[in-house]
Symmetry: D2
């Protein structure tokens, strides 16, 4: 039975607590938050759990095996470092840290002490991303051409980070997971309209072999869109995460090169066949992720969404931030 202390009981924390609770293999023994109101909510829902505003209690408690850090990103490094130094395993909200240097330090620390770090890249545990990964692994899509995502809605404005740090980590963790290569360069553009931080932003990630990823993130959209196009040599797909059913549609469409006439005259033929919408598992992603965390701790196993995965995402964010400042100049990751 893994004994977990949870720091941060705001928007996402309650989901983390609820899912740890629902596993038979872990229990939340202590919850810390700065807000008394949050702690009252926690106490009401889980009368048996200890609550406190002092996170040192959790970090130093011998009754706790693992710490879940579900707080704003600028607090991550300090809390994570103290947790690791106290010998606790770490489940931590994304983005992992504010800088890649911090991430590297935490990874090294965990390495030395044999502790598990799992970064909460929840989307990797959804039925949709698992299905897409499978369609890539079994070569249904064929050689990848591009990943193009739109993740826009009205709000929720963050005060400390721009829209890239808020919305892009979702797609960056997915892109990292699906493409599995080191980016060659990152380009970002965007503009601030309200509080001096970009609230509309676009990001391109160049990968080897002309694979390209593009992210469109926006806090000022009148409508909510969560749509991703993925193009491959054999097939292409549309993933609409807002669809209740039919989240993924796989199209038997594409272009075949059928010849060349002279220098410019590429002869192409278009393929247009059936569409197919595979059933996507509807299980709760966070629960699957948490179960995997417990399993990794138990077996001393390194999760695929480990500190290094978190670091890769932070590096792309850093590069994007830098490129954004220079109005789109490519930053080599």
């Amino acid at each position: 039975m893994l004994r977990v202390g949870v720091i941060g009981y705001g928007y996402w924390g309650p989901n983390v607590v609820r899912n740890f609770h629902s596993l038979g293999s872990a229990k939340v023994v202590s919850i810390c938050d700065q807000s008394e109101a949050s702690l009252r909510r926690a106490k009401q829902a889980y009368p048996d759990v200890h609550v406190t505003t002092d996170c040192s209690e959790l970090l130093s408690s011998p009754e706790i095996d693992a710490i879940a850090v579900i707080t704003p990103v600028w607090t991550h490094f300090d809390l994570a470092r103290r947790a690791l130094l106290s010998g606790k395993h770490l489940f931590i909200e994304k983005p992992f840290t504010s800088t890649s240097q911090q991430a590297e330090e935490l990874i090294e620390l965990a390495e030395k002490r044999g502790l598990v770090i799992m970064v909460d890249h929840t989307f990797l545990f959804t039925g949709a991303v698992r299905k897409i990964r499978q369609l890539i692994d079994d070569n249904t899509l064929g050689k990848l051409y591009y990943y193009d995502s739109m993740r826009v809605n009205l709000g929720l404005f963050q005060h400390d980070v721009n829209v890239l740090w808020d919305l892009a980590p979702h797609d960056l963790s997915i892109v990292d997971h699906l493409i599995g290569q080191k980016p060659e360069a990152v380009v970002a553009t965007g503009a601030p309209h309200l509080n001096g931080l970009a609230d509309v932003a676009f990001m391109t990630i160049y990968y080897p072999d002309n694979v390209i990823a593009h992210l469109n993130v926006n806090w000022l959209s009148p409508v909510k869109i969560r749509t991703t196009l993925i193009g491959g040599e054999n097939k292409m797909l549309v993933w609409n995460d807002l669809e209740a059913d039919e989240k993924i549609k796989v199209y038997d469409r594409g272009v075949n090169i059928v010849g060349k006439e002279g220098v410019y005259d590429l002869l192409v033929s278009y393929r247009s066949g059936d569409m197919w919408s595979p059933k996507v598992e509807a299980t709760e992603a966070l629960k699957a992720e948490m179960s995997y965390f417990v399993e990794c701790v138990d077996k001393g196993q390194r999760p695929f969404n480990d500190g290094l995965a978190g670091l890769r995402v932070v590096r792309m964010l850093e590069a994007a931030e830098e490129s954004l400042k220079r109005k789109g100049e490519a930053v080599y990751a």
Copy 2:
């Protein structure tokens, strides 16, 4: 009665001829194309019109007042120059020319001789763009925040230009028309997958006052999308050009700044009210444009989609091409 010679009777030329014909105020007297098959089609549809493979006949004919150039972009400059030198008014396909220098030369030539140049920015004559322009002009949207367009589909591959030169001119002419300011910088990214020319590309245009435009163009998408988001301080809209009805939806949504607490703590409130889909005129855009061309020639009036408008679009394309080569480095227009 304006006497028109049309050069180029491929994909778009027949629409130009048909619409000139349907006006009472112009008539097509001669059609030129390199393809005998195209000329046969022209002859069958318009038995009274002279057809030829030799465009000099049209360019030098004293029976012709205006030349419509509906050919690939790399042929534009030479044909347009000869037409203007022969004293003909000019209706010319977009993009205007292959380089801004060519465009400047043509503009100067027309200026000296008092000739009209109209660049075929058809979209500006659609009911949808006219309605959006009106919503901006009457301050319904309020101060503009962004223009974000997605224009993707499978094919049609061009052999001589990349996807930016093929698909972006539509949005660039619209952006130029709606925003009405000089761009500060252009950033483009993209990748080639089939014939060495970018078939997936993304373009950001920076305007003064943090107004930003973004274009997503793609020849390798499994689905056809023609959707544009436009954000303003008062209202925001979604323009879906594939909708039969309800092409434009105006949302009474947005963010109001209601206060500030300390440095970072911007207090915002979200506005979420009715949605409204104004009726959009369904008249054929090309016919309206052609009628306007005849009117401009008659009255010696300069059209708003004149050579300068064409030049502004070509400059953005040049800048994008340059930025694309440098992997997103901002090019100052």
Copy 3:
């Protein structure tokens, strides 16, 4: 503080309990269910509430002012009658009773003893139905032409009633509320495919002045549809209850009679203007209904969704059942 006893803690009961709890003005003091598992769930969620499998405890308790009956329809009459005989106010699931005779008896009983009966026609408290009612009341739609609803999905099969008794009460309560007239005749058709009870059915309700309502209910549809068209002389609307935003779209479309030529030649002109999607309140309908129940009891006021409203729905169901048996023969209500 209204003291409520809830009988039935299956699918819907927990929502009723939760909403009574969330009001400041009522409290659930006792919950009864036949299933020990259900009672355990109730106890876990509300440790302070008394639970029992014996409903007599609730029905006879002097500590209880009102009984909520949230059980299958065939149990309604007996439980409701006992509750009223014990002087309890009554909140009861729809459909009110299995027969109109039972409904009449309960109404009379409540009348004599000055007790409130509220039938749980929850949809009348949704933002959507309230908005539609308002559009009718303020004559936006004009004279009503028709109400045409489609309510189909896969399952949930009921064992004791056919699809009409399961799905139609929603629309019947809405139709009764919106049209506010006595039906002239009811026609129903349908067919059974699995267990001898109709799982696909269609129902037409004739109202005075050619107002017509039509319901399409189906347990065997591959997709879930909840769409209603409402036609009026001035405007028409589409209500799609599965839309997150834009549940209601009001169309400025219609037909105007502009003249007559001879006997048959009605000259009509079509009107096609803007579409408008009014904002619909997102408050929980059940909570509003419950608050209204407490208010009605407090003030001794008769709710609009009283026993008579319940009776009117049951009468339409009885007529539909009868018509279904006779393959569509009109049954005069």
Copy 4:
């Protein structure tokens, strides 16, 4: 080369003429219409074709092998009868005739003289209906449960017939083709709102073995809908004829009976798997139908959309008309 005379050059006639023309195997030699304006349009499009306002010319001409009757239904019988008596083959608009008696008389006449009658049930030649037929024939859907169609839009009002005669023949011809059985009973309901003829109507057709068809037709809908659900034991499909791609979606969903507990307790399990959208041929249906007509005449072959198919549709319309008058009373076909 089949020589065709076409009577009626209003809305649909030009499509018939154009498609006969595009075949290599037939030519339209003569066109008749009452309207001089229509004949001018015909002459302009087909300068070589003889035009006339006197249909006797066509009916008696020895130069004509077949007559296409593309006129209002009340004129069908007389024109068709004269054509057959003159020994012409017959292509005739749907619905075939105004009464089943007329249809029977025409069938008998054609039979005696060895002439082909083809009723223009165009939908049977669309890629969508052909694909659905195939999914039924190869048992993909399994035993049929129901066919449920919605065919609504604003206008176009007919002056001589109600909405059933105008819109239902499409679905009736499809239902007849797909189900291929004799209906047991027909029920229709509806109401008139403008000119005394039903403009909103609903029709149920009972087939053996609990197969049921339902049609929803409406001239007063604010939106255009062309959606049909077809339920089968193995799979279910949705046909949305307004979709450019993905007209047909086949769902691997359904209900399995897994056991019975006692009298009422049917145990069912729900199946929910992949969705699949087969590619649907995009060829013009009318052209395929016309080509088939020429082939049937050439080979002396009876088309599947012959006079008997036309008669079956007319019988269902007659029954529906009768049922509508009696407010839904089942009429036994």
